[in-house]
């Protein structure tokens, strides 16, 4: 941060606010991951970090460097785009694996001889 003194006050305040919001949301998400007790509840907590947690920090970075360079810079927005299109992949893998395990546990508890494939295929 070499040109921080060149930054107008409104931009500095807005950047600080956005970074704070993003960091707090990500922290709350991390706390939630610890606090929740079951897998399917836990899955929701980190999405705070991957949605507006990332979003606010990305916006802050974009704003800061746009004001400092007096032109629009937004390669950061790509981070947001890629985070939001790749999260579903991991999440679905984890969720489906858990669902499969729970179903097969229920099936094996109810009828040990008739352990069935839940019969759903990824599309």
């Amino acid at each position: 941060m070499t040109h921080a003194e060149a930054l107008p006050a409104w931009a500095a305040l807005l950047t600080a606010f956005l970074v704070l919001v993003g960091a707090s949301l990500t922290l709350i998400g991390a706390i939630g991951t610890l606090r929740f007790r079951t897998f399917f509840e836990r899955v929701h907590a980190p999405t705070l970090g991957t949605s507006w947690g990332t979003g606010a920090i990305v916006l802050a970075s974009s704003l800061l460097f746009s004001v400092l360079g007096s032109r629009l810079v937004f390669p950061e927005l790509l981070i947001g785009v890629f985070v939001s299109i790749t999260t579903p992949v991991t999440l679905m893998l984890l969720a489906r694996a858990t669902l499969y395990r729970e179903r097969s546990e229920i099936a094996s508890a109810a009828a040990p001889d008739l352990l069935e494939d839940p019969g759903d295929r990824p599309t």
Binding site: F40, L48, L78
Partner: protein
Amino acid sequence: MRNILPYPVLTAALTVVWMLLNSFSLGHLLLGAVVAAGASRAMTALEPSKPRLRRWQLIPWLCGIVLIDIAKSNFAVASVILRRRARSPGFVSIPLELRDQTGLAVLACIVTSTPGTAWVEYDSATGELLIHVLDLVERQEWIDLIKNRYEATLREIFE
């Protein structure tokens, strides 16, 4: 034209990504276009389904409501975590009429990016979508949200 540029939208998107990562100049436009054309030709080997955008004018509107909804549910989930209040998590099964693969992929991104809802399973044979909701108060409310707010718009865009 089809043989040279099989996926024009993809090529354009890749060129924009290239210039975002480098700089907006004529040199990078040309270089990015060459790289993007090569990359999108390589895509033909994967034979992806070609999405048809019927009403692309709705895309900015959809992005807007999704960003606002995500912001709202960020605060809802944050308050659930911080206040340790009693919650009733549960699964909701939603019958979808949307069949377009790209539309379903976008819906998956929306549902997953929204804190408090998680896409669990989609059965392509029946069109049944299973989502998990962190704070399930009214089941019908969630079905209406997904069906009326997102699915209806996505069907207009893609089908």
